[in-house]
């Protein structure tokens, strides 16, 4: 431990922790193996200056306040509190008393689970290589519902490590063996009853060498883990004190607004009326970027009014002749072609289909979707000679560090990034387009902090949308209708993964064959198909697409679970029973499905004009089944009740899991019922909520969530609630009306909702 690490003496990246930072040999290769190989490592401790560092994660002030570094974006999913629960449990302090701070973009905080997500099951060196790369980058990102999966062991170990360091420090003081001592609720307690607070021991404990493999509590010793806990961030979110990116206020700051080029992929040639606009009241500067014009003014209102009046002259582009219809024609055309990438193949599907022409076939379709986070994109930045400060709510700050360094020419070690709360993320804030814009503006405004805020219209028209997809599904049942002898699924879609990585980390852009997101949720299904062929073909166009809550699962969950339902009806089977027969080799899935049927009273008939629909989908390590009950009156659909069962393995905060299930369901329902982004002559048609509407309080079904008791590896909870709901809803609609909806959103088929 650095002897100079007293208050006020910590300088940027001069904070040295000696010895292994976190335990070597952690289970599952989580957080820190690569790290512990280093004898010394630098991290800044920036933002934690008033507290003693016990490791790069846990800091304790002299008045016994525990501060925890969590380099994961708090975007509503409750991750800050979940990590506080994991560390707090082992440290033995009430997580509700822990203060969580997002640290700087530094090695110890890399998200190994996300970095190695698709290499975890490979026995190749890929996993270990990616793990090392993750620390060097350092790969700090929040997505793929990985935070708790990455942190479940890791944050417990770092908590237990500090607990043992505190006990060792107290043992030294009392001249006794540390195993005689007890750590409880912020105190180290001597058998005689004497007590010292963690705060009183922090300085001495920081001198103790951490042990690699501290003993962790057993499940029956848990005081907080797996029990409902109240999130530490919510008090500030009910009194207006929580700071989102848009709330950052820095002395002397200016406010910026942007008008993007309306045609996708077009370049801005010039701003016709730049000098006129720069003379408007309060305007300090008009700045031309490649993709739009920016006005910097003394408040947001003046900036956005002025930006709105910018006259942009664009370079000619082919895309201005293209509309959604053209895209649809192109995609449909590719459906009949061979799959560009076969992601999963089992048996001889083609032969089986050829031998029998009684197969069931259907074409499904989903549109572009906007994320529409409630907080529009925004970033605040101050560029000075040789240094930069960034304030932003963002999900992948290591990319921000690279991008800001590249644009400003300032070396990464002189860039400080402060990650605020995110007013919704859903994958949109894994991008950094608006941060790159802010960097260009702040560079022009050197010495003056600038906050660039997109209007809702700019936000909706310049999203990195959920890709559109069309799927052709074919399947064949055996003569007894008991078995699926062949299953074929061909997606034609844009690639979120390739589009996003090409923008943000071009050299890492994977070839189509490595596009794991386009087939996720279509492959590795729990059902026992006798033969299968699943794959996709990609189309390219200038509309940027990206990660949207549950990514490929949101698309493939709808396709597969709708089509399974079609098969059930074609077999004259009950959709629940039909799935059961296919789940013979998947007991966990079967249990989740059974529970959902039981809790929703699946077999109890509903009243006239009502119906239930069921769907099951695994994503991000968790299995979710949902039953929705609806009423239909003409074209009016009443969303009555959703029963949701999740098996996410070991739980952290059940109350939060329930919240995330509700959230994922509502997000998915809005998409299923209303959501659609279209374009005409290269321009996005929707501009604000009236044309991209969101379900409200009055539409809400009652949602009942059940969490399966499980000791399996923790799964994600932020995303898995979304994928099944669209299929469940369409399956219920079919049961109620006999009409099979294969194209979302439902409003296009004339339905409205209450």
């Amino acid at each position: 431990m650095s002897k100079s690490s007293k208050r006020g003496k910590i300088t940027r990246r001069a904070f040295i922790i000696s010895g292994s930072i976190v335990g070597g040999g952690l289970a599952l290769g989580l957080g820190g193996i690569a790290y512990s190989n280093h004898k010394k490592r630098l991290f800044s401790g920036l933002g934690f200056e008033d507290a003693q560092a016990l490791n790069p994660f846990i800091f304790i002030t002299s008045n016994n306040k525990v501060k925890l570094a969590v380099a994961r974006a708090e975007m509503g999913q409750g991750v800050h509190h979940s990590m506080a629960m994991l560390a707090g449990e082992e440290l033995d302090i009430n997580p509700e008393l822990i203060e969580v701070i997002h640290p700087q973009v530094e090695g110890p905080y890399a998200n190994i689970n996300l970095a190695t997500e698709y290499k975890r099951n490979s026995s190749s060196d890929g996993f270990h290589l990616m793990q090392k790369i993750a620390y060097v980058l350092p790969y700090i990102a929040t997505g793929g519902s990985t935070s708790v999966r990455d942190g479940y062991d890791h944050y417990r170990i770092i908590g237990a490590q500090v607990r043992e360091m505190l006990k060792a420090a107290a043992a030294k003081k009392w001249n006794t063996d540390k195993d005689n001592l007890l750590a409880e609720n912020g105190f180290i307690i001597h058998p005689d009853g004497e007590k010292l607070t963690y705060g009183e021991l922090a300085q001495a404990a920081s001198e103790i060498e951490p042990i690699d493999k501290p003993v962790l509590k057993s499940k029956d010793e848990f005081k907080w883990l797996g029990k409902d806990s109240k999130r530490i961030d919510l008090r500030s979110k009910v009194n207006g004190q929580a700071q989102f990116g848009i709330d950052v206020r820095v002395p002397g700051m200016k406010f910026g607004a942007i008008k993007h080029v309306p045609i996708k992929g077009a370049r801005l040639e010039r701003i016709v009326n730049a000098s006129e606009i720069s003379n408007m009241p309060g305007v300090s500067k008009v700045i031309q970027l490649d993709n739009g014009g920016v006005v910097v003014a003394d408040n947001t209102w003046r900036a956005k009014n002025a930006a709105n009046q910018l006259k942009l002259e664009l370079e000619d582009t082919e895309f201005e002749k293209t509309s959604s219809n053209d895209l649809h024609t192109e995609m449909t055309g590719k459906l009949e072609d061979d799959m560009q990438v076969v992601a999963e193949k089992k048996g001889k599907v083609d032969t089986v289909f050829k031998a029998n022409n009684k197969h069931v076939e259907a074409t499904y379709e989903v549109p572009y979707l906007a994320h529409a986070t409630m907080e529009p994109m925004n970033c605040t930045m101050l560029v000075e000679e040789g240094k930069v400060k960034v304030w932003v709510g963002q999900q992948a700050p290591f990319l921000v560090l690279n991008a800001v360094s590249k644009i400003t020419g300032v070396s990464k070690k002189n860039i400080e990034i402060y990650i605020t709360y995110l007013g919704g993320g859903f994958g949109r804030r894994a991008e950094m387009d608006w941060i790159q814009e802010t960097a260009q503006v702040a560079k022009e405004m050197k010495g003056i902090p600038v906050q660039l805020v997109w209007t809702r219209e700019e936000d909706m028209q310049n999203d990195t949308y959920r890709p559109p997809a069309i799927a052709k599904m074919r399947a064949l049942l055996d003569e007894d209708n008991n078995e699926v002898t062949a299953w074929e699924h061909h997606n034609v879609m844009q690639s979120a993964l390739r589009s996003s990585i090409r923008r943000n980390f071009p050299i890492m852009t994977p070839p189509p064959s490595k596009d794991v997101n386009s087939s996720e949720g279509a492959i590795n299904l729990p059902y026992d198909f006798k033969s299968s062929k699943i794959g996709f073909s990609l189309i390219e166009n200038p509309i940027p697409v990206g990660f949207w809550r549950s990514v490929g699962h949101s698309i493939n969950g709808f396709f597969t679970e709708s089509f399974i339902d079609e098969l059930a009806h074609s077999a004259n089977a009950d959709p629940y029973e039909f799935r059961r027969t296919l789940l013979v080799k998947s007991p966990r899935h079967l249990h989740v499905l059974n529970k959902a049927a039981e809790l929703s009273n699946w077999r109890t008939p509903v009243h006239e004009h009502s119906a239930k629909g069921i769907a099951l989908h695994e994503s991000f390590g968790s299995i979710v089944a949902q039953v929705i009950e609806i009423g239909v009156d003409g074209n009016m659909v009443l969303l009555d009740k959703v029963t949701c069962v999740i098996d996410c393995g070991k739980t952290v905060n059940p109350n939060n899991i329930e919240a995330q299930m509700q959230s994922g369901i509502v997000y998915g329902l809005t998409a299923a019922c209303l959501g659609e982004i279209t374009f005409t002559n290269g321009k996005i048609d929707q501009a604000n909520f009236p044309t991209y509407d969101i379900l409200r309080l009055k539409h809400m079904p009652e949602i009942v969530t059940h969490i399966v008791e499980s000791d399996e590896t923790p799964g994600g909870v932020g995303e898995p609630g979304t994928p099944p709901i669209a299929a469940a809803l369409c399956n219920a609609l079919y049961a109620a009306t006999g009409q099979r909806i294969r194209k979302l959103p439902l409003r296009l088929s004339g339905f409205s909702f209450s």
């Binding site: 109240k230 919510l234 207006g240 709330d247 209102w301 995110l422 919240a659 309080l697 009055k698």
Partner: protein
């Protein structure tokens, strides 16, 4: 112009048509009130003007002169949360939290005029958008407030 916000007087020099939202956020650093859509559609910017829930993103600041403006910052008294705020914490309503200032101000205003709203009154008067889908807990929290008020009476 002079504005009365959360019982305090503020003097600002802005164009009369400047929306109250931006006066609060950019001129007075009262950032608890949020920008969501700019067209009075989503409700993130809801404040109370003489007790009435008002979408401040289209409400000219000059129209608020001489009236009592209340923002989320003025809802709690010192460290004590208001009844609605406390119910929001008890029921763990917020997720990202961005829309909740507006949601809470709208609910607080509704409960002042309609202390015991029916489900229909609640659903038709609260049209705020929440992308995290906290609606169910909003309902549960409101029900708990109404029930505990009824017990007190």
């Amino acid at each position: 112009m002079e504005l009365t916000i959360n019982g305090k007087q503020y003097k600002v020099e802005v164009e009369p048509q400047m929306p109250l939202l931006w006066v609060l956020r950019d001129e007075l650093n009262l950032t608890g009130t949020k920008f969501g859509c700019g067209i009075a559609f989503c409700g993130a910017c809801t404040v109370q003007i003489d007790g009435v829930a008002t979408r401040s993103c289209v409400f000219p600041a000059s129209a608020a002169v001489g009236k009592e403006i209340k923002t989320i910052e003025g809802l709690s008294h010192n460290e004590t949360l208001s009844k609605v705020q406390q119910a929001w914490v008890d029921h763990q309503v917020p997720q990202c939290g961005y829309c909740q200032s507006g949601m809470i101000m709208a609910i607080d205003s509704l409960l002042q005029t309609t202390p015991s709203p029916s489900a229909e009154e609640l659903e038709t008067s609260i049209t705020n958008i929440c992308r995290c889908g906290t609606y169910q807990r909003v309902k549960e929290a409101v029900v708990s407030i109404v029930e505990s008020d009824n017990i007190k009476e």
